[in-house]
């Protein structure tokens, strides 16, 4: 068993998580994540379990909501916590230009 993840593996995870990491952190994660993974690994060896499962420890079926309109926010509230706004809109740096 390796004792560290590769740099590429860590960078792929950081990409998925959208977290920038420094070179120092990269090295730290290579080891730290692997240590945790090694600990978790034992679970994958269990094979005598039932494959059906509950999504949460919750046996009831979903109770559906009736299709009636409830309260909504005014646009002022929508924008209240937004770091960037413009008119009634929440603003972000431009999303990929070709879309």
């Amino acid at each position: 068993m390796k004792d560290a993840l590769t740099k590429e593996e860590v960078l792929h995870v950081a990409e998925l998580a959208r977290i920038e990491i420094s070179e120092e952190e990269l090295q730290m994660y290579q080891v730290k994540l692997k240590t945790l993974l090694n600990q978790i690994e034992e679970v994958t060896k269990i094979n005598d379990h039932d494959s059906d499962y509950l999504i949460a420890p919750w046996q009831e079926d979903a109770i559906l909501r009736s299709d009636t309109e409830g309260e909504m926010l005014n646009s002022k509230d929508v924008l209240m916590n937004a770091p960037r706004k413009s008119g009634n809109y929440i603003e972000v740096p431009v999303v990929i230009t070709n879309e």
């Binding site: 998925l16 959208r18 509950l54 999504i55 949460a56 919750w58 009831e60 079926d61 979903a62 559906l64 909501r65 009736s66 299709d67 009636t68 309109e69 409830g70 309260e71 909504m72 926010l73 005014n74 646009s75 929508v78 924008l79 960037r84 413009s86 008119g87 009634n88 809109y89 929440i90 603003e91 972000v92 740096p93 431009v94 999303v95 990929i96 230009t97 070709n98 879309e99």
Partner: protein
């Protein structure tokens, strides 16, 4: 181009016509002020949880039914994890692993032959928010966030752009008639993606596929597909291999352009949405949903044909749901449906288009329409007469008799006068007369037309017909 066999699969996203959103009680609406139809759930505020709109399940059941799908009885939602500014929680709740409907089909007619376009699955998911790009920034409007969608995934069994268009038209008609969606492509309540690949022989494995995203109209789907087939064929001709990619259709260029080359499979990290327990669909729910479906297009057509409506008229009437619904109100009367559809598709449609009105916004009550159809059927009114009085008939509560009197409609009923005209037309059209005598019934229609022309439409058609036939048969 004929060297290659295209394989086309189509994914259609349809916004469901519910009152509220799928996972929150905000209004599901279009065209309101930006960020006025949201609540904390739609915005993905910390601590919020989804609830599940019953009507979304009911509507999806209807969709599965009309698209001949099997309906799954137990399902759950998954989280599809990806970061994008239009995705408020940065995960989308979707039925990734247990689509509500599967193994269905839609029947289209191409070159007078029926073909089943198979449907892989229908799954429920939430819509994203809308972003508008303004130079260096994008503006987000969350009104659309959480609007219920169904995604209908066809199998890759479509072979031509014509089939693709027919499939989409049929799909739109079915979903629209079932009250599942408005299916307005221009408003985005129906959106299409097409996957296109080419191969030389039917036995070959499928070629590299390219996805064309978010095509704005059905005719553009046709153009996009044929352009994409051309593009790929050219590359293959040149012996070039190409990567899987995502393209979009540009209206102005009238062509597809590259959006991005696909990375090696997106890593969406699906896992079951823990906030929504299993959804169990009972037989009662399915029965109730299905029994609430309005009459579907195929059923309507069959019915109209059985009432003597021509194939052409039947198809046209069904293309306009308001007219078809209106016509259906007369199913329990002995109305002449062929005459009725002629009127509805002709002068009445003309009026409605001119006035930008729907038929239920006119004064044409059931009784008045029956009266009108009857008078036309009996030839008491000529088509010119109808034209003269129709506007007033549709706009006021006056009866047909009142209008006939008021407009001084008294068709030429003087037999001697009409006989003169008939003789003249017979003399002028010896060929038609010969045709008639040779058994060509159609000639009589032509001669009738000439007579009506001569009398500027004021001849009593019933009388003319009688005189003409007796003369010809002499």
């Amino acid at each position: 181009m004929s060297k290659y066999i295209p394989t086309i699969g189509i994914e259609v996203h349809v916004e469901l016509k519910t009152k509220t959103k799928i996972f929150s009680s905000s209004k599901n609406g279009y065209g309101s002020m930006a960020n006025s139809l949201t609540n904390v759930v739609d915005l993905g505020y910390p601590g919020t949880l989804p609830t599940l709109n019953e009507e979304v399940i009911n509507t999806a059941i209807k969709a599965a039914h009309v698209l001949n799908c099997k309906i799954r009885k137990k399902q759950h939602f998954d989280r599809k994890n990806y970061f994008y500014p239009d995705n408020p929680k940065n995960y989308q709740i979707t039925e990734a692993r247990t689509p509500i409907g599967y193994d269905g089909y839609v029947e289209i007619e191409i070159n007078n032959e029926k073909k089943k376009i198979e449907i892989e699955e229908i799954h429920i998911e939430e819509d994203t928010c809308k972003s508008a790009h303004r130079g260096k920034v994008s503006l987000l409007d969350f009104n659309r966030a959480g609007v219920p969608l169904i995604e209908i995934v066809s199998k890759a069994c479509i072979e031509t752009n014509e089939e693709a268009k027919l499939y989409l038209e049929k799909l739109r008609q079915l979903l629209f008639y079932s009250d599942i969606s408005d299916c307005k492509m221009e408003e985005g309540s129906m959106r299409c993606d097409a996957n296109v690949s080419l191969r030389k022989n039917i036995a070959d494995p499928l070629g590299t596929k390219c996805e064309i995203k978010n095509i704005g109209s059905i005719s553009n789907v046709g153009i996009a597909i044929s352009k994409e087939i051309e593009r790929q064929a050219k590359l293959l001709d040149q012996g070039e291999s190409f990567q899987e990619q995502t393209r979009r259709f540009d209206d102005k260029l009238n062509d597809t352009i590259l959006m991005r080359v696909k990375e090696t499979g997106n890593d969406y990290r699906y896992f079951p949405e823990p906030d929504i327990p299993y959804v169990i669909i009972t037989d009662e729910r399915i029965e109730k949903a299905i029994s609430s479906l309005p009459m579907l297009p195929d059923q309507r057509k069959e019915l109209y044909l059985s009432r003597g409506v021509s194939e052409v008229n039947a198809t046209k009437i069904i293309a306009n749901r308001n007219l078809s619904d209106y016509l259906n109100e007369f199913l329990d009367t002995n109305l002449n449906f062929q005459v009725a559809t002629n009127l509805l598709l002709g002068d009445i449609s003309g009026y409605l288009n001119r006035q930008e009105k729907e038929i239920n916004q006119t004064e044409l009550t059931k009784e008045k329409f029956i009266e009108l159809v009857k008078k036309v059927e009996e030839n008491t009114l000529t088509s010119k007469n109808v034209k003269d009085i129709l506007d007033e008939y549709l706009e006021t509560s006056q009866t047909l008799d009142e209008l006939i009197q008021k407009n001084g409609i008294s068709n030429i009923t003087d037999e001697s006068l009409l006989t003169e005209v008939v003789d003249k037309i017979i003399l002028e059209n010896p060929d038609s007369v010969k045709d008639y005598q040779a058994g060509k019934e159609r000639a009589i229609k032509f001669l009738m037309g000439q007579i009506m022309k001569e009398t500027k439409g004021s001849a009593n058609p019933k009388l003319v017909n009688e005189i003409l036939i007796s003369k010809l048969n002499k």
